[in-house]
Structures are given as C-alpha cells and as structure tokens.
C-alpha cells in the first residue's frame, strides 16, 4: 500500500474577518487500505481529503504521497491519486458515458480505437456497458456516480480519495457504490457521513473543528463520533 504522510500539514484561509484555520497542523501516516474520515459539516474533513491530491494546498507543513511532496509535484501526485466528488455532475464533463471515460484515457492510451476499447471495458466492469452511448444527462444519480468512478479508475491510480460519494444517493445506490469503493485494491480515503460505510474501513479518523479528534479502530472511532454529537446536542450546541 502507498503511504500518505501528513507532516504538520495545516490549512488557513484569509477571510474578511481575518485568517481562519480550516485544518490545524496535522501529523498522520496512513498506510491502511481503507481509511474512513467522519465528522460534521464544515469540520475540515473535505479539506483533509483534498490535501491528498493537491486540490487544496497546505499553508503549513506538507503532505507526501508515496515519497512525492504534493506541493512540489502536484501533477505527478494527481496521476497516482484519483478523486471522486460528492456530485458526479461536476465530475462527468463529456456528453456520453463512453466519451467521458475516454477523456480520462486521453493521455494514457494512444489511438482512438484502443482508447474506445479500454473505455468500453471499464464501463462493462461497472455494469454500464449498455449505456456507453447514452447521454450522461439521462443517467440516474447512482449510474452517474458509477460513471465518475469508472473515469477515475480507468487510469489505474494507486490511491482513491472519495469525498462523500454516497451523500446524494438512495440506499440501494449507496450500498452499490460503497461496495465498489470498499472492494478496491487501491488504497482508499473515504470521507463519509454514512457510519455503516465508515465501520467497514480499516481505520477511521474523526475530524472536529479542524483537528483530528479521534484516530483508531472503526467501531471505537464511530462510537466516539456519535458520543461527541450527542454531547453537543445535550449541551444545546
């Protein structure tokens, strides 16, 4: 498994009211195959995930993906780290399913025929082969998220970061997308509000107010998160 290293990596942004710490300096070494990240909205968990492939740049410290410093060589890191967004509508940018997967493959497979064959193969592995020439606008939410996944995995990344990939999906599609993600051979960093999915990871981080509140085994981490939410509710926060 690749090693994801957070070396006192933190993020501060400028706001009209002054600097705001989004993620406090965080030191972590993630080597597990499936790492879950849970926390409230605005807690900093998406920022943590986005640091892994350089969508957000650390303002202090550094993030290293398998020996490559994200801030120094972001394009090399992005070739290794695939990213799945919450809303696949932003991620799927071509008119038809097969064309969107082909777009991912443009720099990896030379020749239109070979590229198409590889794209069809990817779609088939996600159960979308029959929809290859279908407009992406005609897909259901679950199908669109599967297409986004196919586009990400087509280029064989060694790490997949998924930022709340099931938030917009119904139960059946949540289970389907979750099963695909958790069954990946690649290392997975899964930001989620679905505590059942989090419990199926190998390690879970609980993020609260821009810092790691808990880091450990899934069941204990999820229990800690639930307890912290209930404590806040009890305090009227």
């Amino acid at each position: 498994m690749p090693t994801l290293t957070f070396d006192a990596a933190g993020v501060t942004v400028d706001t009209p009211h002054g600097p705001k710490v989004v993620l406090e300096p965080t030191t972590l070494e993630l080597t597990e195959r499936r790492v879950g990240v849970v926390g409230a909205n605005g807690s900093g968990k998406s920022t943590l995930a986005r640091l892994v492939n350089g969508l957000v740049t650390a303002t202090t410290g550094r993030v290293v993906v398998d020996g490559v410093d994200v801030s120094k060589d972001p394009s090399r890191v992005r070739r290794r780290v695939g990213f799945v967004f919450t809303d696949p509508a932003a991620q799927v940018v071509m008119p038809t399913c097969v064309e969107d997967v082909e777009l991912s493959l443009r720099r990896h497979v030379k020749g239109a025929t070979a590229r198409r064959a590889r794209a069809i193969e990817m779609l088939a592995s996600f159960g979308l082969a029959d929809l290859a020439d279908t407009s992406v606008h005609a897909l259901s939410g679950g199908q669109r998220q599967m297409l986004a996944l196919a586009g990400v995995l087509a280029v064989e990344p060694s790490v997949v970061v998924a930022d709340e990939p099931t938030t917009l999906l119904d139960l059946a599609n949540t289970r389907r997308v979750g099963d695909v993600l958790l069954g990946l051979e690649q290392q997975l960093v899964l930001v989620t509000h679905d505590l059942d999915l989090a419990r199926r990871c190998d390690r879970v981080l609980v993020v609260e107010d821009g810092r790691i509140r808990y880091d450990g085994a899934p069941d204990a981490a999820v229990d800690d998160y639930v307890a912290s939410v209930e404590a806040r509710e009890g305090a009227g926060l």
């Binding site: 509508a89 008119p95 038809t96």
Partner: protein, 204 residues
C-alpha cells in the same frame, strides 16, 4: 427531467454522414454557415433549410434531437425576427429565422454524427503544427469539449433555478432568479475545474 439541448448528443450510426471524416464535416459546416450568412435571398434561405433537413435525413438524426434544436433557437429567433421586422420588414425577418433554423440543424447533424472525442482528436491534429508558436493542442481541445458540454449543463441550472424561484412564488422578481443562477453557474465552473484538476487534465 430532460435537459434542454441546443446541440445534439452523439447518436451512433453507420449512415454516410457518420462515416465521413471529421475534417470533411467541419469544413462543410464552416462553408455552409458562411454561405448562409453571406447570401441574402429568401429563396436561397429556403434552399439552405432544405439542404440542412436533407443532411439530417441522410444522417438519420432523431426527430427528438431536431425538435430540441429548433426549440433551443426559437427564443433567439423570435427576438431577432422581431428586430429585423422592425428594421427591414417581414421578408428579412422570415429569411433570418429560416437561416437560424438551417444553421441549428446542420450543427445538430454534426454533433449527432460525430463523437466529441473524435472532434477533439481532429482538433489536436490540426493544432499540433502550431505547437512551435505556443499553441497547446490538448488544452484547446479540452476547452472546446467543455464548451460543448457546458451548454446543456447551464440550461439545466437555469431551469432548476427558475423552478426554485417559482416554488417560492418569486417568479416575477428577476433578482430571485438571476442571482442564484449566476452563483450556481460560477460554483459549477469551480467544481468542474477542481474535477478536471483531480483527473490530471490540463496539468501538462
């Protein structure tokens, strides 16, 4: 909800038009468009529209795609026609509307018979010789592809935003519709940029 589209999505097929090289199709579209704009004559306009319909029939483009394209230009056509009527009379207004529909139809024929990636590949081939002058073929091709795809996405946002304003009983207040529309379009552009960066596209 169906997404309104100004240009058609690719419809697989084996018609003569499908099999033509991309360069031939794009060149024909360019020459056709120039002729439509340059030739000012009512009979010629009807001939252009007939040619466009003939191309659509030859390419076996679905009636739905043609109807969508027609609907897409309808509002623009009505506004332009009214303006032309006021300035130059009814003949020029009708001619302009017929020309607009002819142009929309041939654009649909091109997009319905040519996968976007085939167009991008062709664009890259055409631009590659200009690399020495600083041109970036992949970047240009990606930009064109995104522009094509952005049209239905933006229209979908417009429809959603309008419905949201209606649901709140604010359909007669343009600010209630336009402000969120602009914000959502900018947000979507930002998200798309992030998604492209995450896929390593445009990183060269």
């Amino acid at each position: 909800m169906s997404t309104p589209q100004l240009v058609g999505s690719y419809q697989p097929g084996d018609s003569l038009v499908h099999r033509l090289p991309v360069g031939v199709k794009v060149s024909t579209l360019a020459v056709f468009s120039l002729c439509v704009v340059a030739v000012r004559s009512m009979p010629a306009s009807w001939v252009f529209l007939a040619l466009a319909l003939g191309a659509a029939l030859l390419a076996r483009v679905s009636v739905t795609a043609l109807a969508r394209a027609a609907r897409g230009v309808l509002l623009v056509a009505v506004v332009v026609a009214a303006f032309q009527w006021w300035l130059k009379g009814p003949d020029r207004a009708i001619e302009t509307v017929v020309d607009l529909f002819a142009l929309a139809l041939v654009a649909v024929v091109l997009t319905a018979t040519t996968p976007v990636n085939a167009m991008l590949d062709a664009l890259v081939r055409w631009i590659t010789p200009f690399r020495r002058l600083g041109a970036e073929p992949d970047r240009v091709a990606l930009t064109v592809g995104l522009a094509v795809q952005a049209i239905p996405g933006t229209i979908a946002i417009a429809v959603e935003t309008r419905d949201a304003a209606r649901a709140r009983g604010l359909e007669r207040r343009p600010r209630a519709y336009l402000s969120p529309f602009v914000i959502r379009v900018v947000a979507r552009a930002q998200e798309t940029g992030d998604a492209l960066a995450a896929r390593g596209l445009g990183d060269d």
